[in-house]
Structures are given as C-alpha cells and as structure tokens.
Amino acid sequence: MSDNTYSVARSLLAHQPLFTAERRRHQAKVKEAIRQHLADMVTDEKILVTDGRRTLSVPVPELNEFRIRFDPDLEENVGHATSPGQAGQAGEPASDAHKNGREGGNQPGLDMEETEVSLEEIQAAVFSELELPDLDLTKPSPGAGRDFDPVSIGRHGILSQWDRRRTLKAALLRQASHPDLAAGDLQEEDLRFRLLDPVHDDQGGAVVIAMMDTSGSMGSFEKYLAKSFFYWTAEFLRQKYPHVELVFLAHDVRAREVDEEAFFHRGASGGTVSSSVYRLGLEIVENRYPLDRYNIYAFHFTDGGNLTSDNALAVETGTKLTRQVTLFGYGEIHDTERNPSPLYQEFQRVPGVGVVILRDKEDIFRAMTHFFGRNEAVRHA
C-alpha cells in the first residue's frame, strides 16, 4: 500500500481503536471470570509447591458463548479418510488437526475454556483487595510506611515536579555546544523533571506473628488449610509490605519459635496446649517488639482440640495478648460439621479478637479477606 493511493483496507482499519476496545472487553471478561474463581485457585495444591514462575491453566466458563447446538459427543461426521487409491486406511492423525480452531481436549459437558494465567496475575488479583488493617503509620520502625524521595532527574514528568534550574542549565549547555543557535531558545529536550522514587522509611513498623498448632490431632487436611493460609499471608506481606517482619511459632504442648522452612514442613505430634504459644507470643512481643514502635498482628490456627484443663488459661493469656496487638486472629479448622470449641466461643466474646471457622479449601480465601480485607466490618465482631 503506498501512501498516496486510496486504500479500502486502510479506511476500514481506521476503526482499529474499536477492535482494541473489543479485545480489551474480552480480556476484561477473562479477568472477571478468573476473579470469580479465585477461591478455587488460591487453594490449588499445585500452587503451594510452585516455584513462583509457573503459569496455570485456569478454566473460565463465562467466556463460552452458549448456543443451541447438536450434542457433539453422540454423532458421527463425514470427513476425508485418506488420499484416493488408499481407501479404507486410517490416516495418521494430523499434527495440525486444530487448524480450524477446533480442539478436542475439553471433556464433554464441561463447557470450559482454558486460559493461561501466571501466578503473578493471580497474586495481583488476590492481593489488590488486601491490606494490613488499622495500621498506625506513626510507629517508628522499618515496616509498612512509605515515603517519596526525589532521587533522580528525568526528561519526562509531571509539571509540578519541573526542575527549572536544571532545565535552564541543560538549555545553556546545548546552546554552548552549538554557537550558531539563537540564545534563550528552550527546546523540549532541555526539560528536566524530578522523579520521585518510593523509599521505605522508618514508619509504620509492623510484625506478624504466625502461630500454628502442630499437635497430633491436626490431620493432613487441617495442616494443609493452616499452612495454605500462612503461605498466602506470607506471600501477600512480602509483596505488599516487604519490610514487615514475620515470626513463626509452632506449638503442641510446648511452643517454640521456628524458622520459616521448619514452620511449613513440620510434622505433627503431641497434645494441644494453646496457652503455651500465647505466652511465647507475649514474651516475644514484650522483649523484641515494643508497642510504641510496632504494629503487631498475631494469628493462631488450630483444630480447636485444646486440652480442656488449659482452656481457662488459654483464654486469659489470649486476651492479654489481644490487648498488646492491633489484631489477634483466631482460626479454627473443622473437617466435619461440629460445634465450635469452648476456646472459640470464649474468644468470640473478647473484643479485638477476629474469629473464623474454616471448613473447606474455599474458606482460606474467605479467611484472608476476613482478616485483611478492606472495610471488613465484621473483623472485630
């Protein structure tokens, strides 16, 4: 197509912004569908063992355009078998059989289309909704605070950050190197702007204490749910609040501080004494994270099978811990339908404790939005 002739194609494609809008609308619909399946996806076991770089095939039913059609599974169709002269012989299934956009991989009646989503996309979608609640930004420790420092100079920027002095200097330098140019002529290339880079400052110090029951009564399902919750919480914090500290505590009848590796890969044995881990949490808070410098968040996940004789002490230390921290979250995992434990019922009455019961995989995402969701009114119920 040369530029001086009239082109029908060019005039038709002048509507290309329209095409872009269609493409964007389609992608927006894909995203929407993905969001609706987040609960399924964040609990996908495959993700837990991911190296963080994997892309996943995600079923997205909403994208299907449903039609009134014949059932494709019941019917035989006529097709070409082989080239003439070799009648009756089965042809090798062609490698490019989906040339016509027809793919046979879907299971009958499933009505799903698969779309590739990277782990980052899922995380971005999940984490965009979450934040540390009631964060006090005046606590002076490395943590969640953020400030902007003018650290570099660029040629593009917003007008309010226009650096007049540097712009003038650049103009003078340019004119000095080309003496034939008229002086005082300001060119676009001379413009200089201050660029503000976000820096972490010593504000909004925060620490998250992860407490997990590793007693013998925690079955593989309970452990899986608790670990999933802490895995996603750790991922969320690392991405959004990279300077927030994490403390991992595991307990059965006694509590110990463990490193992250051990926390996620620990076996389980022994009985359950929840007060032990609360006491350890309190000690750590008192010795290492002074209240005037840190926002403290504590989460405890258990199956609720606390030793009956320990219940009163656990409630007492738990309540004490609650007074020291911004939020104390108590999660109880039930694999069968049963009543909440006495501990749960007691904590429900204590102001400042967020309680939640997890029954299946979908509840992990629910628990996360419960604790970290924006405008979650029931958090301190």
Binding site: I68, A81, A87, K99, G104
Partner: protein
C-alpha cells in the same frame, strides 16, 4: 513482497482468460494488504466493519494466535458487496498470487450469479458500518451492559433467523425465531427491537454463505485449476501454483475439506455437461443440492469420504455403505449443521419453540445457558423448547432464573 504493479500485470494475464471462459465477476476491487491487516479484516466473521462486541475480540485473538504460531495463513478475503472487495496477502509470491487471483475472480463470479445472493443488499459494507454507528449510539444512550447482554442473547438466536435462501421479511415465517422475537417479544423497547433487527439483517447476509461453503470454495478451486491451465506460465510458476493447490486440497483426516469435495463435485458436473452444466450448478445449488446432484457412489470412493467420531482423540474412519455416508454428509451440511427450530406459539405462558427432531440430540450442556440468556434478556419470561432426547420427548423451560427439564 508483492507490489501493485506486479498485481496489475498478473491480473492482466488472468482476467481476460476468465472472461473468455464465461466468468462475469463484475467490478472487483483488488487490494494488497499485510498479513496482520488481512487477519484483522477477517476477524469479524466476514464483514470487516461490524458493531462492537467482545466475541469479535475473542475471535480476533484466536486468529492472531493461530497466525502467530503459523497454523493458518489467510491468503485472500473476498467481501460480497458491489463492488466486490478482494484483499490479498502481500507476502505471497507472484506465482501464488496468480492462482489466488484466479480463485478470487471465481468467488466474485459465484456471489454475482448464485440465486441465494441475488436479494442481498449490494451495499452491505455500508450497512454494517451504519449498524456499528447505531449500536455505538445505543451504548451511549442505554449503557454498555444493556447493549452487550442484548447482543449476547441475540447471537444465540442469530442461527435461527430463517432457513430460506430467498428474500424474507423479518418475523414472518415460523423458522425465523430471531425475527419473531424482534417483532413480537412483549416487553422490549423500540431500540432493543432495532438491535435485534440489525443482528437479524447481518445473520441473513451470512446465511447463504453458510450454506454454500463447499459449493463456493469448490467452484473457486475448480476455476483456478482451469484458468491456470489456460494462462501461459513458466515452469517455476507451474511448480509453485501446483504446490499451493496441493496444499489447499490436501486431505487432513478427520476433517472435511470443502475445497477438495467441492472441486470434485464441479469436476463431475463438468464431465456431465461441460461448462454449461457447471454454470447451471453454480446458479442453483447450495452444498446439499450439489451433493445430491453429483456425489455418486464411485466418486465417494475416490473422494475418500468416511465416517468419524470427531470427539475421539484419534478418530478412526468407519467403513459404511456409500448411501449411508451420503445421507450423513447431507445431514452435516443441511442448514449449516444447525438444528431446526420453529416458533410454535407465544402467549402469556411464554415463548414455545419446537425442535424438529431428526435423530440428533441437542447439546443439553449448553442449552440451559442459551435459553436462560434469551429468556432473561429478550423475552422477559419463560422460553420453552419441545425436543427429544434419546428419542424420549422432553420439554425444557427456562424463565430467567430456573431451569426445568421435564419428560413428557
């Protein structure tokens, strides 16, 4: 890369030969476009400018992916309009272009002569562009969501906008379900009826093309083969065109290749009564008619047609009697492979449709979603389909919130 001058020279070689054989393609506007442009032009189902809808974005993405992985290449795109617009990929070699031009001329000739295309608007490109502007206006007035959901539902019924290949008025015949609801759906506003009428008009424009895939491609293949025999070509050009032709008609089990089947059928017509018979077949037959007229048992053997279960991972051809295969083939192609649906009645109890059962079940996995969309967005009340499933009569209803499947 091909330039306009070369294209012109090629056209001067092939056009007079086409006319001498009796082709009258009328005014054709040829234009060279880039590979990506032709794929964009083709992404809207055959009309380059249409109203905006996300499903076109989806098909464009599919085409683009197929193109990026070099699974498909679109050599040409002919738009049935007066003048006919023919877009040709500029990356093809001159010899390939020679064959593509011959192919395109035959397509244009087919559109100009086949009976099913005679009543269609000659300015469809302009009309589609008008639809686009009107839909955009509706979006501004009534919101993106309202228009999009209406088009979603209208696309479901667009397959049922009348079986006739002749000119019809909207909503007159019982098999015109989309036209019927556009006229008689009780709680639609005027602009919503306008939207449905626009979708209906474009569906009617595409309907003859859906029913003449084998005929149209076969006709074009038949003539590019003939034309290239008459045009003086160098040895290299002969080699290149022969290679491209072989690519086009190659067998790719278990798929049906319309180029190959159509070519064999017109070849049969030619053996039967010369070019006159070919032109006659072009004027009157759709795919099914062409098969009924010319697909003899012996030809079926030569074409290598067999029965496949397409859903199988490695479909094996199943031996069957020629009569059997022919009947299946006709059934596959009849009505473009779509079920037959007619309006039975409508009233306070909703819209009642009857599926004219021919032994093939409807896809009950999709049906509830399809009916829901129609019931909720277009009819604003229950939509019922009477059908059979495994030869047992079923009565399925969706009222927008609930799906009921009754055996009657």
């Amino acid at each position: 890369m091909l330039d306009e001058k070369t294209l012109h020279q090629l056209l001067e070689r092939v056009w007079p030969v086409a006319e001498s054989l009796g082709l009258h393609p009328g005014h054709v506007h040829f234009e060279l476009v880039s590979s990506s442009a032709i794929q964009l032009l083709a992404s809207h189902g055959g009309l380059p400018v249409r109203y905006s809808h996300w499903s076109f974005g989806k098909s464009e993405q599919r085409l683009k992916t197929a193109f990026d992985f070099r699974l498909t290449q679109i050599y040409e795109l002919v738009i049935n309009n007066v003048p006919a617009y023919a877009f040709i990929d500029e990356t093809v070699s001159p010899a390939e272009a020679l064959m593509i031009l011959a192919h395109v001329i035959a397509h244009a000739d087919f559109f100009r002569h086949h009976r099913a295309f005679q009543h269609l608007p000659t300015d469809m490109l302009a009309r589609a562009s008008l639809h686009r502007r009107q839909m955009a206006q509706f979006r501004r007035l009534y919101g993106d969501g309202a228009v999009e959901s209406l088009i979603d539902a209208a696309h479901i019924l667009a397959d049922f906008s009348g079986e006739s290949l002749s000119e019809t008025t909207i909503g007159e015949r019982p098999d015109d379900v989309l036209g019927f609801v556009a006229r008689y759906a009780p709680r639609l506003q005027d602009w919503e009826r306008d939207v449905l009428a626009m979708v209906w008009e474009e569906a009617r424009y595409f309907w003859p093309q859906q029913l003449t895939k084998v005929a149209n491609e076969g006709y074009a293949t038949f003539f590019h083969t003939r034309l290239l025999r008459k045009v003086e070509t160098t040895a290299e050009e002969s080699w290149e065109t022969a290679r491209l032709n072989a690519q086009i008609v190659q067998v790719n089990p278990p798929q049906l290749n319309p180029y190959r089947l159509g070519y064999l059928l017109y070849q049969e017509a030619f053996l039967d009564g010369g070019l006159d018979a070919v032109y006659q077949a072009r004027d009157v037959y759709d795919d099914v008619g062409l098969i009924r007229a010319y697909l003899a048992d012996e030809l079926m053997e030569r074409a290598g047609l067999a029965l496949f279960r397409e859903r199988e991972a490695h479909p094996e051809p199943r031996k069957a009697e020629p009569q059997d295969i022919r009947e299946r083939l006709i059934r596959d192609l009849d009505r473009g492979g779509l079920p037959r649906l007619v309006v039975e009645s409508s009233g306070p109890e909703g819209l009642l449709l009857r599926h004219l059962y021919d032994g093939r079940d409807l896809d009950f996995a999709q049906l509830p979603f399809a009916l829901k969309s129609v019931a909720a967005r277009i009819w604003n009340g229950p939509v019922t389909v009477l059908t059979l499933r495994q030869r047992v009569p079923h009565r399925v209803t969706h009222d927008g919130s609930e799906w009921v499947d009754q055996v009657v």
